[in-house]
């Protein structure tokens, strides 16, 4: 089901599967036909498309993982049900709607130090391959960004707390020229255990959302440092 909620007067004319669009920055104005106004924060001519995670993983390892191949096999078998449960729980707690809500609250264009942009969140993730190097959404906006949450990965070992790692890519284009292509990840520890069947899952859901936001914030700081003067 695709629904469109336009929070600005301007329609999102070329997005493929938008769920919500949001103007960030100043009042909306019709997009100019060239990119000369990119630096002008008063005219958000940019589009930012946000894609939720298409991949989710969860691995818990016990001490057996340290005992060679046989130990790792036994350990994987003993944690198979738990890994399956954790993966489904993370997929549910951080579904596309939850990711979109979290990212909207963070005002991503500002956090990434990018120009004011109309933010369009999609309800289905994309697999990034070497073939899809262009814009992921059909858009004619002169200034365009794809923010792709590539994967959410939970990892817990016998000696460490559970950590949520978020892999993100940001790709930007000015007209037909790609100006940014940045991939990185960030992780944060969870203060609560992921729930078992029948337990109250509310605290863990909130902890996952908080870790996701913290990951995006850390990623954004790295992005700003590494891509200064490129956007």
């Amino acid at each position: 089901m695709k629904s469109v909620l336009l929070m600005s007067a301007a329609a999102v004319a070329f997005s493929s599967s938008p769920v919500a669009a949001q103007d960030v920055g100043a009042a909306a104005s019709p997009a100019p036909i060239h990119g000369a106004a990119l630096a002008d924060p008063a005219a958000p001519v940019c589009e930012m498309h946000i894609w939720p995670a298409a991949r989710v993983g969860a691995v818990t390892q016990g001490a057996g993982a340290a005992f060679g191949l046989i130990g790792a096999m036994i350990d994987a078998a003993s944690h198979a049900d738990q890994n399956k449960r954790d993966k489904a729980f993370i997929t549910s707690a951080l579904d596309s709607a939850a990711q979109a809500r979290a990212l909207r609250e963070m005002d991503l264009p500002t956090t990434l130090h990018l120009p004011a942009a109309k933010v369009i969140t999609h309800d289905e993730g994309v697999e990034l391959t070497s073939e899809n190097t262009g814009r992921l959404a059909q858009s004619a906006a002169p200034c365009y960004y794809d923010v792709i949450v590539r994967q959410l990965f939970y990892m817990k070992t016998a000696t460490t707390k559970g950590k949520m790692r978020t892999f993100i890519s940001v790709r930007g284009a000015n007209g037909r020229t790609r100006v940014i292509d940045y991939k990185d990840s960030a992780n944060h520890a969870l203060d609560v255990k992921l729930p078992k069947e029948g337990e109250d899952a509310t605290p863990a859901s909130q902890a996952l959302i908080d870790a996701f936001k913290a990951d995006v914030t850390e990623f954004s700081a790295k992005f700003v440092r590494k891509t200064a003067n490129k956007a």
């Binding site: 298409a54 993983g57 489904a88 549910s92 029948g198 509310t202």
Partner: protein
């Protein structure tokens, strides 16, 4: 306020003479009341149930895994888990067939199963009910998501994530609880009818496990 969808009364249980709302207090005529006291609901308890969107598939094998809905997206190495069988419409039918009074200690005079999931929102943090015109005694059970899942060393199961919210008077904040449960699905020979029957049975079994949880038996 979210849009309300069409709904259908699944079962009308005998009216229960339960008055859980805070008793209305009579105030002296000179005292100003900041808000009208909640009225006493005489057995007018209602439970609204929402199905989720179509079930997702989750697979983690030896060489492939991680992609959500990998089979439906045509990714190589992902076996067909037939999660499309558990569509919203099928979930709604299965939810209607549940004996709510028997399985959960729901003080509800009626259970209403909706046709479609509610609009996406922060159901855990939400303090306002989805149904504006409601009695004092009101509860929601939202099937947030459904998975057909399989992993190496682990059986195929149907997993249900559910959020329960209950209000006992109009001014109070709701009690919120979220939980998950799963039930094994045996695809047997793999023919279409067996798979469908198995998935439907596992979905109903998961809902029953949710209702068996201590939360529904201590309210």
């Amino acid at each position: 306020m979210r849009l309300l969808r069409r709904c259908r009364v699944a079962a009308t249980l005998p009216m229960l003479a339960i008055s859980t709302a805070a008793p209305a207090q009579e105030l002296p005529s000179t005292q100003q009341s900041p808000a009208p006291a909640p009225s006493i609901a005489a057995g007018a308890c209602v439970l609204h149930v929402w199905p989720s969107g179509t079930a997702k598939s989750s697979y983690m094998g030896w060489f492939h895994g991680g992609a959500v809905d990998g089979d439906r997206r045509g990714i190589k190495g992902y076996p067909d888990l037939h999660s499309g069988v558990l569509s919203t419409a099928v979930q709604q039918q299965l939810l209607q067939s549940i004996d709510w009074k028997k399985l959960a200690e729901v003080p509800a005079s009626s259970v209403i199963v909706h046709d479609a999931p509610p609009e996406p929102g922060d159901d855990l943090g939400r303090t306002t009910p989805l149904i504006a015109d409601r009695p004092d005694c009101y509860a929601e059970l939202i099937v947030h998501s459904v998975f057909v899942e399989r992993a190496a060393f682990s059986a195929t199961t149907v997993r249900v994530m559910a959020i329960s919210k209950s209000w006992r008077d109009k001014l109070a904040a709701p009690k919120t609880y979220s939980m998950m449960a799963n039930e094994r699905a045996d695809f047997g020979s793999g023919d279409e009818q067996t798979v469908e029957r198995s998935l439907k049975g596992a979905f109903t079994g998961s809902i029953q496990r949710v209702l068996d949880s201590s939360y529904f038996h201590r309210r």
